[in-house]
């Protein structure tokens, strides 16, 4: 894959480049601020983008905003957002733009294989949400939500879907058979009233329903 990386810490920028190169990807541009990211994407049309949230010039959430703007211009551009903090509201904003999105704590990069795998899944149009966001979503009680119809086990499976795991990976994580997972996923999709569509698409939508419901951003201008 041809990848653009944006990260203001040179140390981390080099580490990321090194990892991705090592797994056979090409880092076509490594930039250190948000305007640089927008310019690099326009110039190189990469297969995927990896970006930090907090970057120059304002050191606030420029990276995230740039990622959202890029996805608005180029629907489906795979973007993996890395951050020192994960916030449910940011996850919801990112996911509103559809599939091909990832949102992870920065230190997950330490699990190198999993990180590269996550990026590849995002590049293939999947969703990868940090387990910490998923955990807080699962623990949060919500009323009058279609998610209330799910059983504990189904919510657990949905949480792992949100982390971006395949049926096989979910089965290994929960120590059950893959057939059981397939049954759970089918039941989740049915309970959330998702219309028939290619399986991947419905999975993404189930996760979106899940996040929208839990972390709908509060009205604020």
């Amino acid at each position: 894959m041809r990848i653009v990386i944006a990260e203001d810490s040179v140390l981390l920028l080099e580490g990321l480049s090194q990892i991705l190169t090592r797994f056979g990807h090409e880092v076509v541009a490594a930039v250190t601020d948000a305007p640089g990211l927008a310019a690099a994407v326009a110039e190189h049309e990469p297969d995927a983008v990896v970006t930090d949230v907090r970057m120059p010039p304002g050191f606030r959430d420029e990276g995230l905003r740039t990622a959202l703007a890029l996805r608005a211009e180029r629907p489906g551009l795979p973007v993996l957002v890395l951050s020192q903090y994960v916030e449910q509201s940011y996850a919801a904003e990112l996911l509103q733009t559809g599939g091909g999105v990832g949102y992870l704590l920065k230190d997950r990069v330490g699990e190198v294989m999993e990180f590269v795998d996550a990026l590849e899944r995002v590049a293939a149009g999947g969703l990868v949400i940090d387990p910490e966001v998923v955990r807080s979503l699962l623990s949060r009680r919500r009323e009058r939500s279609p998610l209330e119809r799910l059983t504990e086990r189904e919510r657990e499976v949905l949480g792992l879907m949100a982390e971006g795991l395949s049926n096989g990976a979910i089965a290994r994580r929960l120590v059950v058979s893959e057939a059981a997972v397939v049954k759970h996923v089918g039941s989740i999709l049915a309970k959330l009233d998702l219309p028939p569509a290619p399986d991947d698409h419905r999975r993404v939508r189930a996760v979106l329903a899940y996040l929208r419901d839990g972390g709908g951003p509060t009205t604020e201008g």
Binding site: S9, L11, L12, G15, L16, Q18, I19, R22, R54, F59, R60, D61, Q84, Y85, E87, Q88, S89, Y90, K106, D107, V109, G110, E111, V112, M113, F115, S136, L137, S139, R140, R141, G215, P217, T218, T219, E220, G221
Partner: protein, 413 residues
């Protein structure tokens, strides 16, 4: 809430509130006060002139300006019907004892003469205060009652311009009467508000500059602390947090190379734990989501982390100023920490609203109550923090619950 702010509310809310009535009461009682004062002054003048050959008469005349001091005291009291702010008198305590010393002292004070000026102005304006409500009330009542009058064979004549004597006209006229009454509410309020402003300007001691200075310096100190917290947060983010992340990444790469995977895995777990602790610490110092996305998202984030389920209801059409936002955030953070630690509650609710330029934060829990500001440093600290921004903190926590914490912070924007 004062009368001017009340007038900016939704017209229906204003018309059916107590404000038009208060304003009317204020206007209607003014002429009574003025009349009593005039009578007293007239009586004193007569007595004084008659007794001038005796020395007593001069004394009586000298006391005439002092009647304004009494009038001013009454006026300051009436002022509170429309304006809840404190209205202290501008007089100082006399330096001598005895009636003579008091009279002399008061006559030398500028405040007395200002009050006399107010009394004269007030008496003249009282005529307007009497006339305007009278015209509006009579006009709107007659117009509103037009159908009744016409049905009884009467008619309403406006000089030679217009005459109302048909039922259809009368009903239209009746609507006009209602409209006059509604508009009258605003006229009363505006007139009364103007009088109240005049009373405050001439009769009330302005908040001394000293006090303002103290408050400003406290606010500066609070802002300086806030800026310092941000700096620390930024330093930790760019420094220690990045380095630890870098370390975790490097260790991950080393593990790929297959050197002592167990040891490296352990080191990585340690580094991750350190980073996690640091992250929690930094969040407590200053959460970046507050800066980036404002109070709504920051409160949501607190609610997510709370062990007690929290219902969040934040509606802010625009972001309050940063210091106010920060204070409100820490109120919610501390309140939710207390809910989790002490209340035994099974659920809590956070509500944030902005009404005019007051930001209101309410945290409600269904726990066992009995919270007291004196008990824990937390609540007292919150009250201090809120008071720096001229806000107020109120707590209701009867034994057996529920506990309601309500904070109001002014945020002029």
């Amino acid at each position: 809430m004062n009368v001017w702010r009340a007038m900016k509310r939704h017209p229906l809310r204003f018309v059916f509130s107590s404000w038009p009535w208060r304003s009317l009461a204020y206007l209607a009682t003014g002429p009574v006060v003025a009349l009593v004062w005039l009578t007293v002054v007239a009586a004193m003048l007569v007595v004084g002139v008659v007794l001038t050959p005796l020395v007593v008469g001069i004394g009586v005349l000298a006391c005439v300006p002092l009647t304004a001091v009494v009038l001013a005291a009454v006026e300051r009291r009436r002022l509170r019907w429309l304006d809840p702010r404190p209205a202290p008198s501008a007089h100082r305590a006399p330096d001598g004892t005895g009636l003579r010393a008091l009279v002399r002292f008061r006559l030398r004070e500028a405040a007395t003469w200002r009050e006399l000026g107010y009394a004269l102005l007030f008496t003249v304006l009282a005529a307007v205060d009497l006339l305007v409500p009278f015209v509006i009330i009579v006009g709107s009542t007659v117009a509103a009652g037009a159908p009744y009058l016409v049905a009884n064979g009467d008619r309403i004549m406006y000089g030679s311009f217009a005459t109302v004597d048909e039922p259809a006209e009368a009903w239209l006229h009746s609507l006009l009467g209602v409209a006059i009454a509604l508009a009258g509410c605003y006229v009363f309020a505006a007139l009364a508000g103007g009088r109240a402003a005049l009373a405050r300007a001439l009769l009330v001691r302005p908040a001394t500059e000293e006090l303002v200075e103290v408050r400003a310096s406290r606010a500066r100190l609070a802002d300086a602390f806030e800026a310092e917290r941000r700096r620390i947060e930024r330093d930790l983010h760019d420094g220690a947090q990045q380095r630890l992340t870098g370390l975790i990444m490097t260790l991950g790469l080393a593990r790929l190379d297959g050197a002592a995977p167990d040891l490296i895995g352990k080191a990585q777990a340690e580094a991750r734990a350190a980073l996690e602790e640091l992250r929690d610490l930094v969040r407590g110092i200053h959460p970046s989501v507050l800066t980036d996305r404002g109070l709504g998202a920051a409160v949501e984030s607190l609610a997510e982390r709370s062990p007690v389920p929290v219902d969040v209801d934040v509606e802010l059409p625009e972001r309050p100023p940063e210091p106010v936002e920060g204070a409100a955030y820490f109120v919610v953070a501390e309140a939710l920490a207390n809910v989790a630690k002490h209340s035994g509650a099974s659920s809590a609710r956070v509500r944030v609203r902005r009404d005019g330029d007051i930001l209101t934060v309410e945290v409600h829990d269904d726990g066992e109550g009995g919270a007291e500001p004196a008990k824990g440093g937390g609540l007292q600290g919150l009250a201090d923090r809120v008071s720096v921004h001229d806000g107020t903190l109120r707590l209701s926590s009867p034994p057996g619950g529920p506990t309601i914490l309500r904070v109001e912070i002014p945020c002029a924007s």
